[in-house]
């Protein structure tokens, strides 16, 4: 930020000379910002393609630049007042580091909050419209994806740029398993998780001996390979046309209007047909599963394997010197994350009723990674919040959908400046010393 701090401890009364200087400086700031904005927005907003020709759209460009100029000017002037400086200082504090939970302060009201969220979540499908149910289902699918990748990137510190591959394996697992083996949603759910975990192991075992950047490149390649195979193996996967995927069933009852054999769900319960039933059902299963994965995640961080993941992120050499087989530890993280990604894929396929390769591009991997980074590497709470922010927000701001990626980039830049460690601050658990040690501690003091 181009703000001058050298006057920060001067009293409020300024000489007119200084005031003039500040205003000039602010004007200069605003001018530079506007020039930069011109470079960015000029080609995007200012030129409109018209066949092989283009037209200048000066009006919208000038209005955007005007907003930016005044915005920057006002911000510059404001940040030079004492209030502005205080605000700036509050935001630029990088002290978002890890905190150890104080011994006597246990999360007492944590259960209430969880119960409240559970209740609210259970009520949503019966109150909200079908559209909102589908939006929240998508949000929860991304929560699952975020939690899966969080294990790999956040906990174990392995940069995986091809996470979408496991998502695709889950989704296509359901669709193809139904198509060729006649397997339904419920049998494919564990099978897809297993399949994704196995492919994670297959990729991981040779690759996990590599370090940081190499791993990122290889996983990136893996993600693309899976997508290209799905796209080009037309006889098996249907190629770009995709495959249809089955909806879940409730004890064999289907959610279709008419079924070949047996009775559909609405007839069995004597209800009139509503296409929302299917989504309500998916919502409820997914809701339960998200909580289950959250619980497992919570347990994992308190288990030897979870601690080993985090230790590996901190220092691989130290881990090896302590008898941990770093390849197996990484592999377990990779496989667990992949399994969660596979489950998310199954839900995605059943929710869409149809899969094709366009849903599994690199952009998805980047989005999932952004969820993990935004949430704060390793923080479960943060991942849940970030997943909803990044998937539900674009739905709310439909009118701005053209600027989605721009906003996305902007959000990431702001995050890196103000909250480089993620939205939610990590808390480490503390342990009560045993009685004998406590006595010794008192003796010391």
């Amino acid at each position: 930020m181009a703000i001058d701090y050298q006057y920060s401890n001067k009293p409020d009364s300024l000489s007119s000379n200084e005031l003039l200087f500040r205003i000039r400086k602010s004007l200069l700031d605003a001018f530079i910002t506007t020039l930069l904005a011109l470079a960015v927005f000029g080609p995007i907003v200012g030129l409109e393609l018209d066949g092989y020709d283009f037209q200048l759209q000066l009006k919208s460009l000038v209005s955007i630049l005007g907003v930016i100029f005044t915005g920057r000017l006002v911000a510059s002037l404001f940040f030079q007042t004492s209030q502005g400086e205080k605000l700036l200082e509050k935001f630029s504090r990088k002290d978002t580091s890890i905190r150890v939970q104080p011994l006597n302060q246990k999360a007492a009201n944590g259960y209430w909050i969880i119960a409240l969220f559970m209740l609210a979540g259970l009520m949503v499908p019966f109150l909200a419209s079908k559209y909102w149910i589908t939006v929240i289902i998508l949000g929860m699918i991304y929560v699952l994806l975020g939690l899966g990748l969080n294990i790999v990137v956040g906990l174990a510190g392995l940069l995986d740029l091809g996470f979408v591959a496991f998502y695709a394996i889950g989704a296509y697992g359901l669709a193809l398993g139904h198509e060729y083996l006649g397997l339904g949603f419920w049998s494919m759910l564990p099978l897809a998780a297993l399949l994704a975990a196995l492919s994670g192991a297959l990729l991981g075992f040779p690759v996990l001996r590599m370090h940081g950047d190499y791993l990122a490149i290889v996983t990136l390649g893996f993600g693309e390979i899976i997508r290209l195979v799905l796209n080009n193996w037309t006889q098996f996967t249907g190629g770009p046309n995709g495959v249809s995927a089955p909806a879940p069933t409730l004890f064999g009852l289907e959610f279709k209007r008419r079924v070949k054999e047996g009775t559909p769900f609405h007839e069995y319960f004597g209800l009139s047909y509503d296409s929302a039933y299917k989504f309500i059902f998916i919502y409820l299963i997914l809701f339960a599963l998200v909580w289950a994965v959250l619980y497992i995640n919570h347990r994992l961080t308190k288990m030897p394997v979870g601690r080993a993941w985090e230790a590996l992120r901190e220092d691989e050499i130290a881990c090896r010197s302590l008898g941990l087989n770093h390849v197996l530890v990484k592999l377990s993280a990779f496989m667990t994350g992949a399994a969660v990604g596979g489950i998310a894929g199954v839900f995605f396929a059943t929710y869409q009723g149809f899969v094709n390769p366009t849903s599994f591009t690199f952009f998805e991997s980047a989005l999932i990674l952004a969820i993990v980074v935004l949430g704060g590497l390793g923080s479960t709470k943060g991942v849940v919040i970030a997943a909803f922010v990044l998937t539900v927000m674009p739905e709310v701001l439909r009118d701005f959908s053209e600027y989605r990626i721009l906003m996305f980039g902007l959000l990431m830049v702001l995050m890196m400046i103000w909250r480089p460690r993620g939205l939610v601050r990590m808390t480490r658990s503390s342990f009560q010393p045993p009685q004998t040690v406590r006595q010794a501690m008192e003796g010391v003091r």
């Binding site: 011994l103 347990r299 288990m303 030897p304 010197s321 302590l322 010794a440």
Partner: protein, 301 residues
């Protein structure tokens, strides 16, 4: 010299080459069980390289390193995974073992065989608490079952409780009980050094290798460290091999000293022998010193 029968560590003809540079040449020495052995020498002599070879972080160019702990003899070079030989074809057992170590071998196997080490530049898990550092070190001794952990079974709880007790025990031994719930990276330097030792001890080693444990400590802390090391040896039946520059401490606590210079062992023996060894004096002080040492040292370089 002690007889080889009760040596916990035997190094024979160890060579280590980095490209064209010979970092270690024909290193031979033994660490007697229950001793405190010091490895000393000027900077760049190759001491850390010796440590890295015998803990399996470097693959020695040639030579034998044998660890005799936990009632078994372990060859460090084979644990790291050797290349296959034609003779493996008709020796399936040896082939199987080679294959196993190729797939799952590595420096972690050395630690499991009973050797724990610390590092010259402290390597703690900085963003974890001191206690968690010690819990990670006990990984191999714990109930690692996925299912048991998620369901939080009785046996899992028991295993975690034991781990915590052991962690607190070593924290107490190294005078760190008030730091258990603090982040390792935020501890003062001296405490970080002690925590690293405590962490190494949590892996149940028989041989503890310390790389410059007193570096950066003040004289009082150094004296306490010397006392701790003596206690570890006498009460916990540990053998200690340490690299150290603080001669006062080395002379006081070690029963055997090995002197390294330019990748060669130039002397070994008791502190008294080393103190008066002309080769050692010249290596440390340079040949121009008026110590009456004849100038025959260039041959060592």
């Amino acid at each position: 010299m002690t007889s080889s029968s009760d040596a916990i560590l035997t190094i024979k003809g160890l060579n280590m080459q980095f490209g064209g540079i010979k970092a270690l040449e024909n290193i031979d020495f033994q660490v007697p069980r229950g001793s405190i052995t010091a490895l000393i020498g000027p900077n760049g002599a190759g001491k850390t390289t010796v440590f890295n070879c015998l803990t399996g972080f470097y693959r020695a160019t040639s030579g034998k390193i044998e660890l005799n702990a936990h009632k078994t003899k372990t060859s460090v070079t084979s644990v790291l995974g050797e290349s296959f030989k034609a003779s493996d074809l008709w020796q399936p057992v040896r082939f199987g073992r080679r294959l196993y170590y190729k797939l799952f071998g590595g420096s972690h196997q050395v630690n499991r065989a009973g050797l724990a080490r610390t590092f010259q530049n402290i390597r703690l898990f900085k963003e974890m608490t001191a206690l968690e550092n010690l819990l990670v070190a006990q990984h191999m001794q714990l109930n690692r079952s996925f299912l048991a952990g998620i369901i939080n079974t009785r046996s899992f709880q028991k295993s975690e409780e034991n781990a915590l007790n052991k962690a607190w025990y070593w924290l107490e031994q190294l005078d760190l009980i008030n730091e258990g719930n603090q982040l390792a990276g935020q501890l003062p330097y001296g405490k970080q050094r002690r925590l690293e030792i405590a962490r190494a001890l949590c892996t149940n080693p028989e041989l503890l290798c310390l790389d410059e444990p007193a570096a950066g400590l003040n004289p009082q802390e150094t004296a306490e460290l010397a006392k701790t090391l003596n206690t570890l040896r006498s009460e916990h039946k540990l053998t200690i091999l340490l690299i150290e520059h603080d001669m006062g401490m080395v002379m006081k606590i070690s029963s055997q000293i090995v002197v390294l210079d330019h990748g060669l062992v130039i002397a070994r023996g008791s502190p008294d022998q080393i103190k008066n060894d002309p080769a050692v004096i010249s290596a440390y002080l340079g040949t121009e010193e008026e110590t009456g040492v004849p100038e025959h040292e260039p041959a060592l370089a």
